[in-house]
């Protein structure tokens, strides 16, 4: 229909819906008027009044049918039908609570599993930093080196040159994960934080709620600016929301830092995997990083950084410019930069946090979610099919008294829609409860629990709504298929003999069962393989006993202990832990066996290899 037509149609449709009585009355008047004129004509032709009336009625045909066809022609009853179908559908569901509950639970599971996975993918991969301005234009920045497959960190001078020469990017900033023991009041615990460039808070558009962010120049010099911004959560929990916090001193990695600001609520830094609780400028890197002063050393590669593109710039365009700058750096500083490049990564492939490592896991989860949804749909479809056989009589009667198939289908789909909408609502609730559940699957590392929040935003909502519609179609299609085969005369007769399941239905039912069995089989095989791998991991002996072992991390030097103090502490801690009832033995280790971290050894010598004068080979071990 054209816009002009809608201009006419819409008021009429609304009128047929809201002033139904009046519209119906008018229709009746119109048809009666017609009848009267017919009678007049017959009378004029010389019939008796009785005959004239009789003939006129005969000529007109069924009043109700005409009225119904007129109503259909007006189309105003789209809304009316929907309301009617909804009401009828709800009544049907309430009448069969067992069936309804089962169907809704099935769909809740199917849609909920998908919505939860969507929310994780959204919160971890696509929108990991909700407080950050324009994160859709944010990209991760990492170095490459000839002969190395993996991404490399960048050096501070390279980063600075990049920042100065790049024209297609809004902002460059550094955010390198670090940690420190935080000793406040009576409790000390390992806390994660970031070493950042001075422009960090301005670049991401996050403004401290108390105090200030870093000022330009605070990221220059050797241990020159011992200042820190702390997270809102840390301020609330460990500093008891102290309003006078700004200006107070806090020891971080054994160096007193002045707290200059508190980040806003809901900001957890820019690292997928852990919530950040403090930020220090890059000038403090010596305090937190090994390897001494690195801000003027082009050969010291340690930083992790991000860029934000200018609006309308694509990743490929920015990559081209950045590669050109890297080539120039290579020419200017051949000693340090030969064979080195710089590469942009989308946030969901960020190589230096957990986004990249979780990507395959989430992909598998997505596939499993889709399978679960299909199985749930097949299940509910089967339930509906069985019920539609029970409802065959109702359908047949409705067709017999003049209901159109179209109308019947509309009703069946409306019932499907009610089921899947309830399922979707339940599913979103499940997703909401599960939004932090991913962490439960991952062990805490170095004594700090991971932070992997799901994000339920409008994108997740609309995806779930889409899934709900697909489920409606699948679920509604099954009984709809069933009505196709209803043959009035045959069905009415067959009804009494109680034959259930014509050939067509049986075919559909077995088809659904085969489909379900296939999907379940795929999932079962997947689960079995997973369990087998798990079993192998559990039974493979690492060479030491792993049962009843608990571990935690302590970082004494960062808590302000000197070496003799730390030794005393260790000895005392061991003695006291060993004295605990139920503790058989206790030990310290620098490296957790089979843990995630790697450590560099002291320099080693390799037979027949002459190391370059300025470097000595080391090995990473675990």
């Amino acid at each position: 229909m054209t816009f002009e037509q809608w201009f006419h149609t819409l008021p009429m449709r609304l009128r047929s819906f809201f002033r139904r009585k009046k519209v119906d009355q008018e229709l009746e008047d119109e048809l009666r008027d017609h009848l009267e004129q017919q009678i007049q004509e017959y009378l004029a032709a010389g019939m008796s009044p009785k005959d004239a009336r009789y003939s006129a009625l005969l000529a007109r045909g069924g009043m109700t049918q005409i009225e119904q066809r007129c109503r259909d022609a007006r189309g105003g009853n789209v809304i009316e039908d929907l309301v009617q179908d909804l009401r009828y559908g709800v009544r049907q569901l309430v009448r069969n609570p067992g069936f309804s509950l089962l169907a809704v639970l099935c769909l809740t599971l199917g849609i909920g599993a998908n919505a939860a996975v969507f929310s994780w993918i959204e919160g971890i991969l696509f929108r990991p930093y909700p407080a950050v301005a324009h994160q859709e234009r944010l990209l991760a920045l990492a170095g490459t080196a000839r002969g190395e497959t993996g991404p490399m960190p960048l050096s501070w001078p390279d980063f600075r040159d990049l920042q100065r020469s790049c024209t297609l990017c809004d902002a460059f900033f550094v955010s390198k994960i670090t940690g420190s023991t935080l000793d406040v009041g009576e409790r000390a615990e390992v806390t994660r934080g970031s070493i950042v460039s001075a422009n960090y808070f301005d670049a991401i558009g996050v403004h401290p709620v108390l105090g200030r962010g870093f000022e330009p120049g605070e990221d220059a010099g050797s241990d020159a600016h011992p200042v820190a911004v702390i997270s809102y959560q840390l301020w609330r929990s460990r500093f008891k929301s102290d309003p006078q916090i700004v200006g107070k001193m806090q020891r971080l990695n054994n160096v007193p830092h002045t707290i200059i600001g508190v980040a806003p609520e809901g900001f957890y830094g820019t690292f997928v995997g852990w919530a950040m609780h403090f930020w220090v400028p890059a000038s403090m890197e010596e305090t937190f990083e090994s390897g001494g002063y690195k801000l003027e050393d082009r050969d010291a590669r340690w930083i992790e950084s991000y860029v934000r593109l200018k609006p309308g710039v694509t990743r490929a365009q920015a990559q081209e410019e950045i590669s050109a700058i890297a080539t120039r750096l290579e020419a200017n500083y051949p000693a340090t930069n030969r064979g080195r490049g710089i590469r942009l990564w989308p946030l969901w492939q960020t190589p230096f946090n957990n986004a990249g490592t979780l990507l395959p896991t989430l992909e598998i989860m997505l596939a499993v979610g889709a399978f679960v949804l299909l199985i749930a749909c097949a299940n509910v479809g089967n339930l509906l099919l069985v019920r539609s056989i029970a409802r065959r009589h109702e359908m047949t009667v409705r067709l017999a008294i003049g209901g159109t198939r179209r109308r019947l289908l509309k009703q069946l789909f409306t019932e499907g829609l009610i089921l899947s909408t309830l399922g979707a609502a339940g599913g979103l609730l499940v997703a909401y409860w599960c939004r932090h559940a991913l962490v439960l699957l991952l062990p805490a590392r170095s004594g700090v629990a991971m932070y992997l929040p799901g994000e339920i935003d409008w994108r997740v909502m609309s995806l779930s709504a889409g899934i709900c519609l697909i489920a409606t179609l699948i679920v509604g299609l099954v009984p709809a298929f069933q009505t196709r085969s209803i043959e009035l005369a045959g069905a009415l007769k067959a009804e009494s003999s109680g034959v259930v399941g014509a050939r067509g239905t049986a075919w559909l039912r077995s088809g659904l069962v085969v489909f379900q069995v296939c999907l379940s089989f795929v999932l079962l095989v997947g689960a079995a393989l997973l369990l087998q791998s798990l079993q192998k991991i559990r039974t493979t002996s690492p060479g030491f006993s792993t049962t009843n072992v608990v571990q935690t991390g302590v970082s004494l030097i960062s808590a302000g202990y000197d070496v003799p103090q730390a030794k005393t502490f260790q000895k005392e801690l061991m003695d006291r832990v060993r004295a605990l009832p139920g503790v058989e033995s206790a030990a310290f280790a620098r490296v957790t066996p089979l843990g995630y971290g790697t450590y560099s050894s002291t320099p080693i010598a390799v037979d027949g290899y002459q190391p370059p004068p300025e470097g000595q080979p080391t090995v990473d071990y675990n």
């Binding site: 229909m1 002009e4 037509q5 201009f7 006419h8 149609t9 009429m12 449709r13 008018e26 008047d29 119109e30 048809l31 008027d33 017609h34 009267e36 004129q37 017919q38 007049q40 000529a59 007109r60 045909g61 069924g62 049918q65 005409i66 066809r69 007129c70 259909d72 022609a73 007006r74 189309g75 105003g76």
Partner: protein
């Protein structure tokens, strides 16, 4: 031979539009007029006429007003709208093209 009242699918709408283009009429008069104008060849049952009128009204091609008819009865009169006039022109042109094509074929001399 088929019944004379069998209208080619879709032509009823066009005929109603044409009849209403001449003057506003109520439903009864439309059915009479159709019969007269086609010399009793075309007829339409009430079961088709009224749904058709309502559909055309719905599409904005005709509008309806309640008026007193000659014999002083309240009657629903339909008249053509500006949109309806355009639609009629379009359908009439289509019809002329179609019927010319068909009669051209039908009139071919057999060898």
């Amino acid at each position: 031979m088929s019944k004379p009242s069998d209208l080619v699918q879709g032509t009823l709408d066009m005929l109603i539009l044409k009849i209403l283009a001449l003057e506003p009429l109520n439903g009864w008069a439309v059915s009479r007029r159709l019969k007269q104008m086609s010399s009793d060849v075309l007829g339409v049952s009430d079961g088709s006429l009224y749904p058709s009128l309502h559909k055309l009204e719905q599409r904005g091609w005709i509008t309806a007003h309640w008026k007193l008819s000659e014999n002083n009865r309240r009657s629903k009169f339909y008249s053509l709208t500006q949109l309806g006039r355009k639609q009629l022109e379009k359908e009439a042109a289509d019809w002329n093209r179609l019927s010319a094509a068909i009669s051209g074929i039908v009139k071919l001399k057999e060898a």
